[in-house]
C-alpha cells in the first residue's frame, strides 16, 4: 500500500493562564510544499504587492499572494496577542514522536515559522525545503548550522561538485537573499500583528541568516579540531591492532 503523501506536524502551546493554541502543519512530501487548499483566500496583508520583498521574482498576475504570507495567514501564526517572553509549554507531535519543551512564545513561534517558511514555496526559501521535510524543532544554533551545511553538502554531492569555497559562497548567497526576505516579511507582519512575539520570532530566525559565513567557518574549525583531537586515538588503535 502506498503511504500518504501528506505528513502532519502538530504544534501545541500551553500558556500559564490555561489557554491553549494548536497548529497543524500539513506537508505534501511529493511537492516539498505545505498542503494548503487552492481555494484558500488569505487576508489582505498577504497580497504579493503589500510590502513585497525588493528582490522578489514573482509577478502579481501569476501569484496574487506572497507564498510566505499566505502560509502564515493560513495557519494564523501572526495573531497571538501575548508578549514574546510569555512562558510556553510546547508539545510537538511529529510522526511517531512527541517532544515536550518549556520555552518562550518567541522561540516557540521561531520554530514554527522556520518550518512554514522552508515549505511555503517562496523562491528564496525553497533551498530550505529538504530541511523542512526533516524538521528538527527547537534545534539550537550549532545544530541548525550543522543541518544547513549537511543539507547543502548533500545537494552538492548529488550534483557531483564539492568545493569548500564554492559551497560557502552558495550558502552565503542563499542566506543573503533570505535575510532580505526576513526583513521585508517583518515589515509585512508589523502591518498585521499587534504582538511583538511574531516579530521577535522573525528576529531570532534572522540570527542565523545574518551571518552564515562566520557560523560555518567556526563550524569547520570545530570539526577540524575534533578530527585532530580524535586522530591520535585512531593511530593508537591502529598501533594496538598492529601486533594482531
Amino acid at each position: 500500500m502506498e503511504s500518504s503523501p501528506i505528513k502532519s506536524i502538530r504544534y501545541e502551546a500551553f500558556f500559564s493562564g490555561g489557554q491553549k493554541k494548536s497548529y497543524t502543519i500539513d506537508i505534501d512530501i511529493r511537492l516539498e510544499n505545505l498542503h494548503i487548499p487552492e481555494t484558500y483566500v488569505p487576508e489582505n496583508w498577504a497580497t504579493l504587492e503589500f510590502q513585497q520583498c525588493s528582490h522578489c521574482p514573482l509577478d502579481s498576475k501569476d501569484s496574487p499572494y506572497c507564498p510566505l504570507a499566505r502560509s502564515i495567514s493560513f495557519h494564523q501564526l501572526q495573531g497571538i496577542d501575548l508578549p514574546s517572553f510569555e512562558p510556553v509549554d510546547g508539545v510537538i507531535h511529529i510522526e511517531d514522536r512527541t517532544l515536550l519543551i518549556r520555552t518562550t512564545l518567541q522561540r516557540f513561534l521561531k520554530s514554527l515559522y522556520g518550518l512554514v517558511f522552508s515549505l511555503s514555496g517562496c523562491p528564496h526559501t525553497r533551498f530550505l525545503s529538504s530541511m523542512g521535510l526533516f524538521h528538527a524543532p527547537f534545534a539550537n544554533e550549532s545544530e541548525t548550522t550543522l543541518r544547513i551545511v549537511s543539507f547543502h553538502l548533500l545537494h552538492c554531492f548529488t550534483r557531483g561538485d564539492i568545493e569548500r569555497q564554492k559551497v560557502l559562497d552558495e550558502i552565503c548567497g542563499n542566506f543573503q537573499k533570505l535575510e532580505v526576505v526576513n526583513r521585508c516579511f517583518a515589515e509585512r507582519l508589523r502591518g498585521s500583528s499587534r504582538s511583538d512575539a511574531a516579530l521577535n520570532a522573525m528576529v531570532l530566525l534572522n540570527f542565523i541568516a545574518e551571518h552564515p559565513a562566520s557560523n560555518i567557518d567556526s563550524f569547520f574549525e570545530e570539526i577540524k579540531n575534533l578530527l585532530n583531537k580524535s586522530s591520535p586515538d585512531i593511530h593508537q588503535e591502529r598501533n594496538n591492532l598492529a601486533p594482531i
Binding site: P83, F85, T104, S195, L199, N200, L204
Partner: protein
C-alpha cells in the same frame, strides 16, 4: 573606547548584537538578560550608551531606562524593540529621556551608526559641560 550596555531578555538577540558589534574595536560591550542585573552593574560602572529592549518580563525598557537615568544621567539611552506604538514611544521619550527608538529586525549599519552617534553626542555634552564649568570658575 566607548562602553556600551545592551539589555534584552532573549539571549539570541544579545548574541546577534555582540556579533554585529565585534568588529567595532573602540566599543566595549556588556550584555544582560535581566534589567535588575544590569541596574546592579550600572551602580558599579559607568556606560556611554545603554541600549534596551522595550518588552521584557518583570521590568520593561522604559522602567529600566528611567532607573538608569537617575543612576547615570549622562549615559545615552536607546530602545530597540519589535513592539512599536505611540504610547510606548511617548513614555520612552518623556520618562526615560531616550535619544532614539530603533526597530527590530534592525539594519546593522544603521544600528552601529546610531550607537556611535549617541556615544559622540554624550561626549560632546560632557566636554561642553567641562568647558562651561572651567569658564565659570575662571570668572
Amino acid at each position: 573606547m566607548f562602553s556600551i550596555m545592551i539589555v534584552d531578555d532573549e539571549e539570541y538577540i544579545l548574541k546577534a548584537m555582540q556579533r554585529l558589534l565585534r568588529p567595532c574595536e573602540d566599543m566595549a560591550v556588556e550584555c544582560f538578560t535581566s534589567p535588575t542585573e544590569a541596574l546592579r552593574r550600572c551602580r558599579a560602572s559607568v556606560f556611554d550608551v545603554i541600549l534596551s529592549d522595550y518588552r521584557m518580563p518583570h521590568m520593561d525598557g522604559v522602567e529600566f531606562l528611567t532607573e538608569v537615568r537617575s543612576l547615570q544621567p549622562d549615559a545615552a539611552r536607546l530602545i530597540l524593540s519589535a513592539h512599536v506604538d505611540a504610547d510606548a514611544i511617548m513614555k520612552a521619550i518623556n520618562n526615560a529621556g531616550i535619544t532614539k527608538f530603533l526597530t527590530k529586525p534592525w539594519d546593522g549599519d544603521t544600528l552601529i551608526q546610531s550607537i556611535y552617534e549617541a556615544a559622540r553626542t554624550k561626549m560632546e555634552i560632557l566636554e561642553n559641560r567641562i568647558l562651561s564649568d572651567m569658564a565659570r570658575n575662571s570668572l
